[in-house]
């Protein structure tokens, strides 16, 4: 039987880095704003299960936006003359700009991978702007361990290779349909965009220096990491959490790098207790 999902998708016109942008976002639910940040090279569809989860949307306004260059968000005018590279400052500024444009009151950013990294920076720089942060596959830094060039070169199909790389970042027990949905998002990424995001992940965005400055009394930090992630490994998350006094880390059995997308049912069992704590703050 046909069914319309309870998700609303809209376009937002706003300025980021002083340039006009047209950004796509989806939302569902009412309550505490839960601002969802997708992984490098993907888009907001990774949060489709949260947006459709009535138990979550009863208490949270779940919002997932596609970063510029990703999903249905366009790159800024003139993009054809520049190389896309995400940096820590630009990432933080973008999230603040979206939060302001949507007039969100102390939202809870939940981010995965690059998003799991940047939420730590948000907690450090702007504890007054966020109730708390939730980092999925969150670590201070990941040294690159394969050449990024393969992600964007003329003799290798970028979409196919991005998916091939992510194939093994998904846990081996993930449901087949969700595995391939997750990979499809990667296959659809624009040329060089995944690589441009990894500029933040593996080159620019080492946030380890400032971790000890995070005041979890002002902005609590929750971390959830899948055991099969060979990029942000459980040990990397443990090392990161150990530097943030008061951070709460849980390692998730069976899950990989994309918990909310690769196996939403299994992930839900780990997320709901965290969201209960968020509501109690």
């Amino acid at each position: 039987m046909a069914q319309i999902e309870p998700i609303t998708g809209r376009y937002l016109r706003l300025e980021i880095h002083g340039r006009p942008h047209r950004l796509y976002f989806e939302e569902a639910g009412q309550g505490i704003p839960l601002l969802c940040l997708h992984t490098a090279g993907s888009d907001g569809r990774q949060y489709r299960a949260l947006l459709n989860d009535a138990k979550i949307t009863a208490n949270f306004r779940v919002i997932a936006f596609d970063m510029p260059w990703h999903g249905k968000s366009s790159p800024p005018e003139g993009f054809q003359d520049e190389e896309y590279q995400l940096t820590t400052d630009r990432y933080v500024e973008m999230i603040l700009a979206v939060s302001d444009a949507l007039d969100l009151d102390r939202p809870v950013p939940i981010g995965c991978s690059i998003g799991g990294r940047v939420v730590l920076e948000l907690a450090k720089r702007h504890p007054d702007r966020f109730r708390c942060v939730i980092g999925l596959q969150s670590s201070a830094f990941v040294q690159r361990y394969f050449p990024l060039d393969g992600l964007h070169k003329p003799n290798v199909h970028g979409g196919e290779f991005c998916a091939a790389y992510c194939w093994g970042l998904v846990g081996p027990g993930a449901p087949v349909a969700h595995r391939w949905e997750t990979l499809w998002h990667y296959m659809q990424g624009g040329p060089g965009v995944f690589k441009g995001d990894l500029h933040f992940y593996s080159l620019d965005g080492d946030v380890s220096e400032g971790l000890r400055e995070i005041d979890t009394a002002a902005c609590p930090v929750f971390m959830l990491t899948g055991e099969y992630d060979h990029s942000c490994t459980p040990q990397a998350s443990r090392d990161t959490a150990a530097m943030i006094e008061g951070a709460e880390l849980t390692i998730m059995d069976g899950l990989g790098h994309f918990p909310m997308s690769e196996d939403p049912e299994r992930f839900r069992d780990y997320l709901l207790p965290v969201l209960d704590k968020v509501r109690a703050l």
């Binding site: 361990y145 394969f146 393969g150 070169k153 003799n155 290798v156 199909h157 196919e160 290779f161 998916a163 091939a164 790389y165 194939w167 093994g168 970042l169 846990g171 081996p172 027990g173 055991e227 099969y228 060979h230 490994t233 459980p234």
Partner: protein, 119 residues
Amino acid sequence: MIDALPELVNANASLVRRGRWASFTMLLGIGETNWLVAIDQGRITDCHPEDLRVSTCDFAILGTEDAWQKFWQAMPPPMHHDLHALIRAGKIRLEGDIDLLLGNMLYVKILLEQLRGRI
């Protein structure tokens, strides 16, 4: 050890379709033993142990016996479930025409996983 690979791959219509542009010879190093795996349009046409040099094949995937044994478990342990995980763990290395491998990486990863739980 991997004798079953051709039958498993060639009977998998989805995988053969995915590899319809894949034609190359791959050297698979399993500990001290090298295997020649010849592929033509997604089908394995030859698979046998042979003491070959990497330069005689298009590319090579060379791993320790322990790495492959864990990789081929029905439910492999973390850091042993994927080629890139094993590369990061230092248990597998790639040689030869890497771009050719990158261009066919999804096919090759799925091909190798056909042996999971069967060795």
